[in-house]
Amino acid sequence: MSKSINVALIGNPNTGKTSIFNELTGLNQKVGNYPGITVEKKEGICKLSRGLRAHIIDLPGTYSLNTTSLDESVVVELLMNKNDKDFPEVVVLISDVENLKRNLLLYTQIKDLKIPVILAINMADRMLRKGIKIDVPQLEKDLDTRIALISARKKTGIDELKELMANYQTLSNQPVVDASRIAPDYFDRLKLAFPNEDLYKLWLVITQDTNFGEIDKKPLEEKSDFGTLSNAELKRLQHKETIVRYQFINNVLKQSYEVDLHAAKGLRATVDKILMHKVFGYLIFFLILLLIFQAIYDWSSYPMDFIDEQFAALGQWVKTTLPSGVFTDLIAEGILAGIAGIVIFIPQIAFLFFFIAILEESGYMSRVVFLMDRLMRPFGLSGKSIVPLISGAACAIPAIMATRNITNWKERLITILVTPFVTCSARLPVYLIIIALVIPAGTFLGFSYQALTLLLLYFVGFAAALLSAKILHHTLKLSNRQFFVMEMPSYKVPRIKDVLFAAVEKTKSFVYGAGKIILAIAIVLWFLGSNGYRQEFKNAEELVTERINTEGFSTQSQQYIDSQLAEVTTAERYTQLLQIQENAKQQEIASFKLEHSYIGVMGKFIEPMVQPLGYDWKIGIAVLTSFAAREVFVSTLSTIYSVGSEEEDTIKHRMAMEVNVGNNKPLFNFASGISLLLFYAFAMQCMSTLAIVKKETNSWKWPMMQLVGMTLFAYLVALLAYQILQ
């Protein structure tokens, strides 16, 4: 067993920290969450010389140790807690060569915690192009540490960095800036009150609103004879601290860092003028969105159809190969269907994150945030919410995962909560079939009523998302300490390796994180749909067979038989007849069983509740099973109506024949159709979304709030619509 040391990678956002992490650890990395919070924890192993191994932790990007978000708190909490098993023996501070000045602020703060810090200056390959010269020995002397000039892109300097890590014991752990200079009297009193504590650590505990393991806030609050300062005074001192640090950095860099602005070549200004243009900027963003949409909506449908077919075939294979019985059904219809329900989302998630990673790595995402900020501000959100909200139109699951880029927790939570209102692709089959049934075929200004209805539904979904965001913004009592200040990074060509890693990592986190819950719910729904306590359920075969023998097939089955027979030649007709009749009988049995299964009983039980909305118990069942996923609506109705195929026209035809027992009108009329459309527009009917919300918020509270709140709202709107229109 070789010796292992903890190394923490810390740095400002956009310094290429993740690229260096990927270079150091390769595939030896895993991504999890910090216990109890939803901040991503990335760690990996890197082999150093002399049999030494480095356990590398990639900490969230931060500009300083002044925390304004959960991500940043993670950094401070780890650095302050010597007892943490991940407490670093050495910190590698990743800096980008162009913004060295700003990056050194964080360096001086960590150095003051008396932890050895290696300064890794990344993107060193850009130095020449940017006219930058660094006197490394001088800078090492002034900063009291060792420096590695690296380029993750050109893969240079990584070995030197590893060598410095292996020799971490030779590094100085002395501070470079004396922070107590900002208020000497105050710090003297602190020292008197806590003679055994480190002053800078105390200062952080006083000023930062985080949970500290080693030094608790409590003794500080109890022992106030060092003179407590007001928040305004503390803030002024923090300002002063930042200024003092910058003074130190400016002096250091004067000696060893030189930029020849005339030699500097950069496309930033030109590209910015195009991408952030008042008109072209929005146009380009729109085109990029269109491309992303095409990918998650259209391109991913090929792998999704393939997955669908493979799982259907596998289920069929299991059913024919294994002895028939409950166990086989559980595997084929419960477990396999559940796994299919997880795997089916992989193409969409992978595509979305592939594109998001490119947008982020290239630096374009910040420009989008800049462009869209004004639009989102009235709803209490910032430009950062735009990409998740729009991706929600393909599927809420990757969209909710994409909210991780929103650093402000309140904004992120609101975005997570409202995204499921956006019309996702799973609603489309439901919309299409109902629109075709109840919306007349006329045109308005050359546009068909049906197309306009669909457009309206998309609009209504988006409006519901934004309005509820506004309401949540005013009602959620969460501290909102963050201000909209955002760095605009320089443009870079994304590294394929980083982009692929990001896409794979998100996909894995979905499969392992939300997958368990989706599988569990799928099995429960399967159980409810394929089991029943009633005699009718248990004796379904005999009862249906007997009815067919005495009363003949139902009208629907007879139609099915006739249509099937019409397709075969006269010669085959006799041999095929028995098979077709048997199929029809099986469909009737399945329909009868579903009617008397637990879920069927539940459908009948909720009938009084859905009647005011214009539905009967059959639609009630379809609405219930839709909680597995909305698109199940159509296949459930086809089972109930024992149509035997998911061919849209057949089902549509069958649905048009349904009659409302109460008033003898068609069941699917304008009023009930609109009511159903609105219900599907607003109700939270997707277990996968609930599962991912649970994972991303680390609590059942928020998904339950979505389930109850959205569904209740949907119910009321549908009720109102039906009562007015009928």
Binding site: K101, H239, I243, V369, F370, D373, Q482, F483, V485, E487
Partner: protein, 79 residues
């Protein structure tokens, strides 16, 4: 005069913070009294402002920008 009074392309010097205490994040990103600030691009309809301050390229909302005082580049040089 504050940041919002400047037009794209104009350069000024950040004044001492007095009545208003800007968020600490702004200082960390290099927006310190005495730093030069150049307006690069303004987002339409009172959207955020994109500036280069002290070599840092950052975007800030108008509500914050309108409270940060600046001195004209010329007069600051004479001080």
């Amino acid at each position: 005069m504050t940041i919002t009074d400047l037009k794209p392309g104009e350069i000024a010097i950040i004044d001492e913070f007095e009545a208003y205490m800007p968020p600490i994040k702004l200082l960390e990103l290099g927006c310190l009294p005495g730093s030069s600030i150049e307006i690069l691009i303004e987002a339409p309809i009172n959207g955020p402002i994109y500036v280069n301050v002290n070599g840092s390229h950052i975007a800030i909302r108008r509500t914050v920008a309108s409270q940060i005082g600046v001195l004209p580049f010329k007069s600051a040089e004479h001080e």
